[in-house]
Amino acid sequence: MPGPDKETDLTERVEAFLSDLKRGGSGAGPLRGSAETARETTALLRKITAQARWSSAGDLMEIIRKEGRRMTAAQPSETTVGNMIRRVLKIIREEYARSRGSSEEADQQESLHKLLTSGGLSEENFRQHFAPLKANVIEAINELLTELEGTTDNISMQALEHIHSNEVIMTIGRSRTVEAFLGDAARKRKFHVIVAECAPFCQGHEMATNLSKAGIETTVIADAAIFAVMSRVNKVIIGTQTVLANGGLRAVNGTHTLALAAKHHSTPLIVCAPMFKLSPQFPNEEDTFHKFVSPHEVLPFTEGEILSKVNVHCPVFDYVPPELITLFISNIGGHAPSYIYRLMSELYHPEDHEL
């Protein structure tokens, strides 16, 4: 029978995705970029929408929320998964509202009047059944996928507006977005890039080799030399893992030091981050913010006796407060960090912030 087969097929896909997420986070599996994760999540959600059994929007949202909770629990630091789920939930809400006939504008405005008078969509329980809803939702998710495909190109197209000739640009670690950004600018302009290697994973080395293959003058420096070299740097361009709701960043460790050094020398700090990295989380939860990996990256087992007597920490991420950031470049243009809260309200519905 096609029904149960589809269901088992679906659950298999979901399980495979979950185990991939778990493995990828520990560094054992293949390292995948955030864009890939976002695309896979969205594709999976589309499949769920298509194949799962649901009769009303509320049911669909419940299913997606359930799967979403499992996915985010598999790898809490991979925030793109949660972001895509929230996007899809927002899509469902919109499509439902459109099907019901209420005007989009009134729904989208979060005015004080609306908050006071109506209580708004919270009274909605999304129980009405609309036949074309499934098709609409799937179409909207396809649009989202197209948007995801083009994010890196959209960001790279803005490169020439920000990089002039003979500049010295500094970056840290490895970001595919920044690589594409600099590669695009290098086709027309000549500039110099300094890459901080970002110990202990030393992803900066790979970034440097890729950049030098694109013909850009690249120099690799150790993390300790960031402040020493910063006085000669014109711009700092970095990627990030997540953009937080207050405009801050959760980026690879060492970025906070880089941001402080840039602030000290009044060097602009530009963050290239596509919109799917924007997350409604705030940095307040200390215990869930940081992720640690095996300390043997820092102090290997060959050190012997002292290992048992010493505490070793190997955090993966750093928090960068929004005051240190000059500009965000995303696929929809450039923004100041103070504008991020507004973008968030356009992408996610407040009730979805907690899955």
Partner: protein, 562 residues
Amino acid sequence: MCNSCAFYHFAAVFVSFNHLLHGFEKTGGIERAKSEGKELTKEEKQRLRKEKKQQKKNKEKKDDRASQESGREKQGVSSAASAPQPSAQSAAQKAPSAVPAPVPVPASEAPAPAPAPADKPAKSKAELKAERRARQEAERASKQGKKGDPGQPGAAGKPKAPASELQPVVKRLPEHIQVDNPDVLKKLAKKLERQQTPGQNSAKKIPLRLDYGYKVSLFSHLHQYSRKAPLTQQLSIPSTVIHPAIVRLGLQYSQGIVAGSNARSVALLHAFRQVIRDYTTPPNEELSRDLVNRLKPYISFLNQCRPLSASMGNAIKYIKKEISNIPSQCKEEEAKSKLLHCIEWYIKEKIILAAKAIAESSIEKISDGDVILIYGCSSLVNHILCEAFEKSRKFRVIVVDSRPRLEGREALRRLVQRGISCTYVLISAVSYILPEVSKVFLGAHALLANGYVMSRVGTSQIALVAKAFNVPVLVCCETYKFCERVQTDSFVSNELDDPDDLIVTRKGRTQLENWQQEPSLGLLNLVYDVTPPDFVDLVITELGMIPCTSVPVVLRVKNVDQ
């Protein structure tokens, strides 16, 4: 008279080489020539020719000196040959010792009045010429004086000359930060050639170390050596120019076996002790002059192995001063034992006792329950922490380390052995760990006269992040590391380590393996950086706890004492 005329002709032929040497005789010759009128028109013409050439020479000073030296060597005039050598060498040596080079201009002005009265010229041309000769003679005399007194920072000459304090300090830039200037490199090569025992063939000279790998353009003025090609490979065996203890020391420096500014200075002083013990004064030479000349090639060799640190420079200055202060009637054995005693005193007082004094003051700053952050491996900071632990202070230590040297592991081992509870992180995690920290203790390689702290690369970063989190930063430094140089950024004077150290193999892949083949890829391995004084809250020295900006005051007090 005929003799002097003959000399005069002879000199006129080698016109650009000789007249300095025979200044006095020539002056007499001119006067006599002028007084005798037309008899010596031919000589007058030659003189005029010489005058013009001299004027040209005054514009091109450097080439002049070099050609003079080679000319003199050709002539084989021994006494004059040694005169320009110490000037060039002492200039180059003084630079690593990081003291403003003795001012040639005021020093020469001081003895200038002395020969001038002797030359009272009658007529204008002769007068000018004589004055010029006198100036050159004075310069030569001052250079010879410097040769006997190389350690003195010109202070002897300065107080005699009036208004000496505001004279412009004509500093000779050290060679090791002028690698991009081909003239300087040529001079260095020539200097190394000259630093051989006269009479030996050129195979036994000090070799010139070659740079390795692609240098980042911002640092093209610095040397970059490979650890795999130590200088000792180019030395012939046995090396009669360089004492074996020095060869061993040079190898230890270049391979990083002896690292850290205290360790390097102490090793240097021990090697010099061995040299002095094995030294015998050759006949017809004075110990005070000859020993200093012996030390010069050693210092060049060590400089080639690894650029001298500020502490080593100060130690060398001290030794040279002590050697040159030995009275000439002192017997050799007595002189040697005196020098050995001086060196031991220096080590004991400036390094060991200073460390004790600093530890005592620092322990007051460590309270129970403190979380102290240290960076890398500073012998002084480790000593302080061990002493504080002995005095039963309860604290724990966070050791921050950085690639590629990973010196923090050594500090970690030493502290853990003592039983101090430690945490270990890399420098990229410092903003994660800093909220837990109550104090930061840093060591220094040198303290510059404008208050900047020169230390291992990464120190300024730690001070920056500590400042952002409002954690006090304390720098511990002995006064013998204070130096008169000023520097505002980490580019103008630094050391470039072997770039291959940055290469790492992770998960079986070495990304940067073929970095030399990539034309646009460069690796930069800096050794030092400078921390601005606004990041440092306190400097603890054996003279007390001072702010960063009081460094020039301490230097002045030290100079007055000496």
